[in-house]
């Protein structure tokens, strides 16, 4: 059956309403627009980076309803009604989150391209388990690629943030 006979069209425009970093946002998109492109182009939130655009680098990771998701592997229309948290939502009133501060202090980035993805992935991990082991941190980060640091400083920054928020466990 032809598309138009069923009221379908490949250039239909969809209204997207969602919450981004606690604010109601909306836009009008083609179905094929990814959440990443919607955030960057329609909402001007360019902190979410696009490396590979097919799910393998993790640079575009955001939280959707509290869970980490590749925003290049999600359509904006799929996110209708969701609560999305991006890198722009981590700092509160201009103050870095303790994880951000700790990664800053430990030189956890060089060019910074991968950093938003790493921060969102670790934010998700710490929400699910606030006191992970280094092994669990490495496992959680295994889906994020960094071309600069060699990862050691990233793990160090994350472990330092965990130690400072779980003071009893510092030995």
């Amino acid at each position: 059956m032809s598309l138009s006979a069923k009221g379908l069209s490949t250039d239909e425009i969809f209204q997207v309403e969602l919450t981004v970093n606690g604010e109601r946002r909306e836009g009008a998109v083609e179905a094929r627009k990814t959440l990443a492109d919607f955030l960057r182009e329609d909402l001007a939130l360019t902190g979410t980076h696009l490396g590979c655009e097919h799910g393998v680098c993790g640079a575009c990771t955001v939280l959707v309803d509290g869970e980490p998701a590749r925003s290049c592997l999600m359509l904006a229309v799929q996110a209708r009604g969701s609560a999305v948290l991006t890198i722009e939502g981590l700092a509160q009133k201009g103050e870095l989150s303790s994880l951000q501060q700790s990664m800053w202090d430990n030189h956890s980035f060089q060019c910074g391209f991968c950093t938003p993805g790493f921060l969102m992935q670790i934010t998700a991990l710490l929400e699910q388990s606030p006191n992970p082991t280094e092994g669990e941190v490495r496992e959680a980060l295994s889906g994020n690629i960094c071309r600069c640091t060699g990862y050691q400083s990233i793990v160090k920054g994350v472990m330092a943030a965990i130690a400072s928020s779980n003071p009893k466990d510092v030995s």
Binding site: M1, L3, T10, A31, R32, D37, E53, E67, M74, V77
Partner: protein, 302 residues
């Protein structure tokens, strides 16, 4: 790297989704978690005209127990299944395999049904479905429901028994018999990569001998395969190193695994043999086999 244009619907009932598929045949594709389909769109390896998003249909992501069976809607997210205590209790082999899939951000969106329907030759869940004798329920507008044993579901390279107007709606895993131990193992280049070779194994012991064994390999053929010859040879045998070693040989007899830049066919064959040996050992120990008896004899089986 942008998807081509397509029409999109996110129906709120299964009926509506099925009728969209019935109307558009192979022009339409189901969108589940999108973790395989959206990369294919972006790389322009798939060009469906209509995407039918299942995420807004109520009830398709439920996990429940029925007469000891684990019953899951096909839209259960991989990460949700991984953390669900009911899955751990009723289907430990599934729980063991889930963490091997990609990364947390993939599993939070990817679905159990999507992984089975996609039928990647190196995916973990098809091997689990095969090893556990899972039943897969396919639903269409024209013919209603039909239940397929996993053994009939996987037909080849990215190919299943699903017709273009069908949706995989439910996955049912049978209860484990008393005295069964399970183990999932795989070897991949990096954590989170698709397996070069993976193995889902279960062993049931009765009075110290092997009463039943299930072995399903992934990554060694266009579709997951049961190592039936090895399984048969194991029945009635004692769980020992030599027996498991022999099972490894039998499991790869007649197989020609694919060669690629990650590993040659010969390498994959050896890896499959080692995984069979290792997984059988772990599964037998979990089923209550005697540590010393099992580890006596030559060779390092760890």
């Amino acid at each position: 790297m942008k998807p081509p244009a397509f029409a999109y619907r996110a129906p709120e009932s299964l009926q509506e989704a099925l009728s969209l598929l019935a109307d558009h045949g192979d022009e339409a594709k189901v969108l589940a978690g999108g973790q395989s389909l959206i990369p294919l769109l972006s790389l322009r390896l798939a060009r469906p005209t209509v995407l039918v998003d299942l995420a807004r249909i109520p009830g398709m992501a439920s996990i429940s127990e029925s007469d000891g069976w684990l019953v899951m809607g096909s839209m259960v997210r991989e990460g949700h299944a991984e953390r669900a205590p009911l899955v751990g209790r009723l289907a430990p082999l599934l729980s063991a395999a889930l963490p091997f899939i990609g990364h947390p951000a993939i599993r939070s969106r990817g679905t159990v049904g999507g992984s089975l329907a996609h039928a990647d030759p190196a995916a973990e869940l098809p091997a689990v479905a095969l090893a556990t004798d899972a039943q897969l329920v396919a639903t269409s507008a024209a013919r209603g429901k039909r239940t397929l044993p996993a053994a009939d579901f996987f037909r080849g390279f990215f190919e299943t028994a699903l017709e273009t107007d069908e949706i995989l709606t439910e996955i049912r895993l049978p209860p484990l018999s008393e005295g069964t131990g399970v183990c999932f193992q795989e070897v991949a280049r990096r954590h989170g990569d698709f397996a070069m070779v993976g193995l889902a194994a279960s062993v049931r012991l009765a009075n110290g001998t092997i009463a039943d064994a299930h072995l399903a390999l992934t990554g060694v053929a266009p579709q997951p395969i049961r190592a039936s010859e090895a399984e048969l040879a194991l029945i009635g045998a004692s769980p020992t190193k030599a027996v498991f070693e022999e099972a490894g040989q039998l499991a790869t007899r007649g197989l020609t695994p694919p060669s690629d830049l990650h590993g040659s066919s010969g390498y994959r064959t050896v890896v499959a043999q080692v995984l069979v040996r290792r997984a059988l050992r772990v599964a037998a120990l979990k089923a209550g086999a005697d540590y010393e008896e099992l580890d006596s004899g030559r060779g390092d089986l760890r």
